[in-house]
């Protein structure tokens, strides 16, 4: 296996302006340096205060809540019960259904996302006329809110009688028997949500891949051509090995989107039919804002965070650089 890995991209990434004056300043704790520190803290303060109040503090608070029993409506204060909250959540029937559904979503969505995004990026990287237009159209769904995406697809595309999809299937392609109540059937509701999520997210991932593709120096392809590699071999031995960084980024983002599936089922199916699209994130929401069980909801929110962390670490490990 020959893989030509570019070193040019990596060195260009670590270029930052040299700041020799700082190295000198660092050595003596002068008045000037203390002044600089004070002004740095002043610049940071407003941003950090907001992050502290609305992210760091909530992170700690929900961690504490995840070990308590706390009904926001009935209880005066959270009641500490330790790991019991987690144990109760892990044994809750709907939680297990949600876990299974989320696993199903992720197992189908993630590989499709990676492969299709790479395919689109390879297409966008070709010197075709009007390819910028294609890039814009692929990216367009990324700027549309998930809520609106749900409304568009449920109301306009997938609905039974007046949806576009059934119209095309039945009246244009003549496949009357294929027309279907896509979101109302336990077998097709989740696949429909997966397809919609792909439509929404491919543009973003393709752009990351495209950046990686454009950073591969052309000399590598020239070298491969001299060695007689055809375009397929170039893809396997030059393009893919040089996309390691892109795979790492696309992977982590894809993992996050695979696990936190919320708006799509919330808006389009309300978790149904028969709980077939109840996801972990939606389960957490229902606990928190329908039942006001803030302890249980915090516990399942942390379980989601934990899942994302595990898979992100796995992703980091799989896309790690072989060389130090």
């Amino acid at each position: 296996m020959i893989s030509i890995v570019s070193s040019a991209t990596e060195t260009s990434m670590s270029i930052k302006p040299a700041r020799p004056h700082k190295a000198i300043r660092k050595k003596r704790l002068s008045r000037q340096r203390r002044m600089e520190e004070l002004s740095a803290y002043a610049f940071l303060l407003p941003a950090l205060l907001l992050i502290l109040a609305f992210m760091i503090y909530p992170m700690g608070d929900s961690f504490y809540l995840s070990f308590t029993k706390y009904n926001f409506v009935y209880d005066k204060a959270p009641h500490f019960v330790g790991l019991q909250t987690y144990l109760a959540v892990l044994q809750d029937g709907p939680f297990l259904t949600a876990l299974k559904n989320t696993a199903y979503f992720a197992a189908v969505f993630f590989p499709f996302l990676i492969i299709l995004s790479l395919g689109v990026a390879l297409l966008l990287n070709l010197p075709l006329r009007g390819i910028t237009f294609v890039r814009t159209s692929v990216f367009l769904p990324v700027i549309v809110s998930l809520a609106l995406t749900g409304v568009i697809f449920q109301g306009m595309i997938l609905s039974g009688r007046f949806g576009l999809l059934n119209h095309i299937l039945g009246n244009v392609l003549g496949l009357k028997s294929w027309t279907h109540n896509w979101l109302g059937d336990t077998r097709t509701a989740m696949p429909a949500i997966i397809a919609i999520s792909l439509w929404k997210y491919i543009g973003f991932e393709a752009l990351i891949f495209l950046a990686g593709l454009q950073a591969i120096p052309e000399t590598l392809y020239d070298a491969a051509k001299i060695d007689g590699a055809d375009s397929w071999q170039q893809l396997i031995h030059v393009t893919l090995p040089n996309l390691r960084e892109s795979f790492a980024l696309v992977g982590i983002w894809g993992i996050i989107q695979s696990v936190k599936v919320f708006e799509q089922p919330f808006i389009m199916t309300q978790g149904g039919p028969a709980n077939s699209t109840l996801t972990l994130y939606y389960y957490t929401w229902i606990n928190a804002f329908d039942f006001f069980k803030m302890g249980a909801a915090s516990a399942s929110a942390y379980l989601i965070a934990f899942l994302i962390m595990i898979f992100s670490l796995l992703n980091m490990y799989l896309t790690r650089s072989e060389r130090v």
């Binding site: 740095a40 610049f43 992170m59 568009i152 950046a211 590598l220 892109s246 936190k260 928190a288 965070a305």
Partner: protein, 286 residues
């Protein structure tokens, strides 16, 4: 962005046709839902409910838009809420992130790495973790159903990524410029505002469009924290419009969707290059 790349030169004429076909299909697949909504929004009710349904509108009518804008007072309220919340959050994010990004990118201070690490860690945590305590907090502070109750968390949630982009932007500005200004006796704040910020404009633009797209489309916080109809933002409000429209009027729904999309679409098309550049450079820098 269409640079001539090595493998592309190999393709011959026939494969070029196939590739153009593929490009057209891909483009259509991603655009079709938008085009369809646009078509429906220009049809009359009679045409929408015609069987079999038509793809192109036979007669372009503006009734649906007229209805949304004149008769649906709630749509105007949602639109106003979304606009105020977005504009204020956006302004706050841009101001605070360019201040913080400047400090992270150009100044030496103790705790630099720790604070930056903190900012990056919160980026990967799912929003649900923050939302539950924020909901409890805002209930105690009576911020539920107020615009400030959305502006504060929206600003905070978008700061980490914004700070990260701005930090990268300021780091890449040659420090000679900054040093020269300081020798001339400008204060830190003066240097930031008069010398550095104008050079950092593309980074500010990228941060701005990212933040605007995020805030304009945010659903979960808005759904949890805004409980009365008068406080809904567009992403939440439109889901309620949908459940009302479902049974009787697709045209109005389509027009409402188009109007909801329009601001973000305009901003995107105008500033697209900054967004694309931001993502692509961010992707390269890791």
């Amino acid at each position: 962005m269409t640079t001539k790349r090595g493998p592309a030169r190999l393709f011959k004429w026939t494969s070029r046709i196939v590739l153009y076909g593929a490009a057209a299909l891909v483009s259509l697949a991603f655009l079709a839902p938008f085009i369809w909504v646009l078509f429906v929004s220009f049809k009359s009710n009679a045409e929408i409910f015609q069987v079999p349904i038509t793809i192109f509108p036979h007669h372009i009518v503006l009734d649906q838009y007229d209805h949304v804008m004149r008769q649906m007072s709630e749509f105007a309220i949602y639109f106003l809420n979304s606009t105020i919340v977005s504009v204020v959050s956006l302004g706050a994010v841009l101001l605070l992130s360019s201040l913080a990004g400047y400090a992270f990118g150009t100044m030496a201070f103790r705790g630099n790495k720790f604070m930056l690490g903190l900012v990056l860690v919160v980026l990967t945590i799912p929003y649900a973790v923050y939302l539950i305590p924020v909901f409890i907090l805002e209930n105690h502070l009576n911020l539920v159903d107020t615009r400030l109750g959305l502006i504060l968390p929206y600003t905070a949630l978008n700061l980490p990524l914004a700070i990260f982009i701005m930090r990268g932007t300021f780091r890449n500005i040659p420090h000679e410029l900054e040093d020269a200004a300081q020798i001339d006796g400008a204060s830190r704040l003066g240097t930031w505002y008069r010398v550095m910020l104008p050079i950092a404009a593309p980074g500010v633009a990228a941060t701005g469009i990212f933040t605007y797209v995020m805030v304009w489309s945010e659903f979960m916080f808005s759904r949890a924290l805004m409980l009365s109809k008068n406080a809904y933002t567009l992403p939440v409000g439109i889901t309620f419009l949908q459940s009302e429209a479902q049974s009787w009027n697709f045209g109005i729904l389509a027009a409402a969707i188009v109007l909801t999309l329009l601001p973000v679409l305009i901003v995107f098309l105008l500033l697209q290059r900054f967004l694309v550049k931001g993502i692509m450079e961010g992707a390269l820098k890791g």
